[in-house]
């Protein structure tokens, strides 16, 4: 379960162009006891509140830069809240596109270290290893350093490692986008399993159909604030589509699919 209460997150960004960037100007600034002008603060999340329960899969949608990844990092406890708070009932694992684990190590060692880092015992790790390797589907590449992996392979292995243990909260940030169709299907099944184990899953994806198929709740962000959030996934997705200038389609899809699904 995750409770986010009036969350504000501010990034401090160093090295913007405001500074001339010479040694002399840096010295002058120190003499004058000025603050570094090159530090800019970006107010990435501006007051956000919501509650997600166990068993929920929450889709997070919004345009680039709307604060989706920042929100996930804050829920994972990796970013400090400037104001407000995030409450969770356990450990969170964040799966992002850029997370490379330890890239000079082989995939196999990453599997072992990842499992141990998540708190599995040596024996559990030995047992889980073949499953993880098999799930990731990277094949013989498992014995090569992760830096030679393709983007897709890297994210498959990361997903396989992080989902090997049932986390209380699993945060998936576009990590599935780079996988192929088969892997996407496998990972959907795995996310469903994790949900069934009463965890909470957050999913950031630009492919709305992925959210539609996986999530039972959705949050639409715009410039660090919630535009809409609720249980009506097709409705909100359609509104989002419309706001970004596309055709509404999910409501219709839901209505045609629902009778068959039951």
């Amino acid at each position: 379960m995750v409770v986010v209460e009036d969350l504000h997150v501010v990034y401090r960004v160093y090295g913007t162009n405001a500074d001339r960037g010479t040694a002399a100007s840096a010295l002058l600034r120190m003499v004058k006891r000025q603050r570094r002008p090159s530090i800019r603060e970006v107010h990435a999340i501006r007051g956000m509140s919501f509650v997600a329960y166990r068993g929920d899969a929450v889709g997070v949608i919004g345009r680039n830069g709307s604060g989706k990844s920042t929100l996930l990092r804050a829920v994972a406890g990796l970013l400090p809240a400037e104001q407000g708070a995030v409450y969770t009932d356990g450990n969170a694992a964040l799966l992002g596109v850029n997370a490379a684990l330890l890239e000079d190590l082989t995939g196999e060692r990453n599997v072992v270290l990842g499992c141990l880092a998540m708190g599995m015992t040596k024996q559990e790790t030995t047992e889980a290893k073949p499953r993880i390797v098999d799930f990731s589907g990277v094949g013989d590449f498992i014995n090569l350093p992760m830096k030679v992996y393709s983007t897709g392979m890297g994210s498959r292995l990361r997903f396989a490692i992080a989902s090997a243990k049932s986390h209380d909260i699993l945060l998936v940030d576009e990590a599935l986008a780079t996988g192929d169709a088969e892997f996407q299907r496998k990972s959907h099944d795995r996310i469903d399993e994790l949900r069934a184990q009463a965890g909470t899953v957050f999913l950031v994806a630009h492919q709305l159909s992925e959210i539609y198929e996986t999530c039972n709740r959705v949050i639409w962000l715009e410039k660090g604030q919630i535009v809409k959030a609720g249980d009506d996934v097709p409705g909100i997705l359609d509104d989002y589509l419309e706001a970004s200038g596309s055709e509404r389609r999910f409501r219709e899809l839901a209505e045609t699919a629902a009778p068959a699904g039951d």
Partner: protein, 393 residues
């Protein structure tokens, strides 16, 4: 798939498609959309397309009525990004001990995979290190600096100091280097500096094998005193762990640390008697520390000097036998040493001097233990206090 559709269906909104593009001045009744008072005027809000969003009402059906804080605490939730209690933090690190050892071993193996000679570099690096110092100080300068068997003395000092030096430098970047791991998986971050110290310890064991070979070739006898090296190394490792924690925290937040560190560490090396004997400097008449006994004492109880002296004492018989106070006091012989420290005939006569301003070996053991415990505890607490802040950028 069946979707749960509660009372939150925003059908009412679908009727007004222009809703989101219109600038509205309604402020949410929770007041949540206004800028928080805590933020100073320096906040720059990256807001390319104007300020319309500030006034947009949110349509949020994921907020149950009542205080969210009470709801969270009522369900036994814990606030994220807060420092865990010390006891459970230590327990978690202990639980991850296999991760620490696995991490260290894997890094150690990966370190040389790109090199053609591979793992051989683990032995070659200390060997070449010793070779360079032997070339310059043993052959080119040909000095003994008032120490018997200068080459063994020097190589021992270099290897022992190198352990602390490398720990300092690698630990200052540990958080940056393992950022992807930190951002992907939850685990106590204290494991990482521990792992890095363990890497250096593994390297040290190999370089000590090299060192043993060198000193035996240089003519040192193998004695039971060598066993004392084990407790010294344990103390130094504990001291290094403490330092590693402190530097890991500093290095995580201030990049300037890793820029400055090489200079600090080098100065430390020169003041810890790696290349010359602090004892000679304070005992002999020409020594720079002769007139500053307090300074000489302080330099000799600094942790690096303590561990270096103890290892030399354990490893090098000639050095041990030449320590002041090793022989009954003899004024004439002591005077000869203090006047002509560089003369190879009198180099061992330091044994006949009074060990006046010099810390004795038992007191060095006490200092070594004290440094290790104090720095390790302070360092660990210092690192733990910032546990929630690692991995943020």
């Amino acid at each position: 798939m069946v979707h749960f559709q509660g009372d939150s269906c925003p059908i009412q909104l679908t009727g007004c498609p222009g809703h989101f593009r219109r600038k509205l001045t309604v402020v949410n009744d929770r007041g949540r959309l206004s800028a928080p008072g805590k933020l100073s005027g320096a906040v720059v809000v990256e807001d390319g397309a104007g300020t319309a969003t500030d006034d947009r009402p949110e349509d949020n059906h994921l907020i149950p009525p009542g205080s969210l804080r009470d709801l969270a605490l009522g369900h036994g939730l814990k606030q994220t990004a807060v420092v865990p209690p010390l006891r459970s933090y230590i327990a978690e690190i202990w639980q991850r001990r296999h991760f620490v050892t696995g991490f260290a071993t894997a890094r150690n193996i990966a370190m040389y995979t790109e090199a053609r000679l591979g793992q051989l570099w683990q032995v070659l690096t200390p060997l070449l290190n010793a070779g360079v110092y032997y070339l310059i100080f043993g052959i080119l300068l040909g000095t003994n600096r008032g120490v018997p068997d200068y080459v063994s003395f020097l190589v021992t000092g270099v290897f022992v100091f190198n352990f602390t030096q490398r720990t300092f430098i690698t630990c200052s970047t540990v958080i940056r280097e393992t950022l992807p791991l930190i951002r992907a998986l939850p685990f106590p971050r204290g494991c990482l500096p521990l792992g890095y110290v363990l890497i250096e310890l593994q390297q040290l064991v190999l370089s000590f094998v090299v060192l043993f070979v060198i000193v035996v070739i240089a003519g040192e006898p193998v004695t039971p005193y060598w066993l004392f090296i084990i407790p010294v190394m344990m103390l130094q490792s504990i001291f290094n762990i403490g330092c590693g924690f402190i530097l890991a925290r500093w290095g995580a937040s201030i990049d300037d640390v890793s820029q400055l560190l090489p200079f600090i560490v080098r100065t430390w090396m020169y003041t810890s008697g790696v290349l010359f004997s602090l004892q000679t400097l304070s005992l002999t008449f020409s020594g720079k520390l002769h007139d500053h006994p307090t300074l000489a004492y302080l330099l000799q109880i600094n942790p690096a000097a303590v561990y270096i002296t103890l290892v030399r004492w354990a490893l090098l018989a000639e050095y041990r036998d030449a320590l002041p106070g090793a022989q009954p006091y003899n004024h004439a012989k002591c005077l000869l040493y203090r006047t002509f420290p560089g003369n190879p005939h009198y180099v061992s006569y330091s044994a006949y001097c009074h060990p006046t301003t010099l810390p004795s070996i038992p007191s060095l053991w006490l200092w070594g233990t004290g440094w290790a415990l104090v720095v390790a505890i302070v360092g660990f607490l210092f690192f733990w206090r910032a546990e929630a802040r690692y991995g943020r950028g």
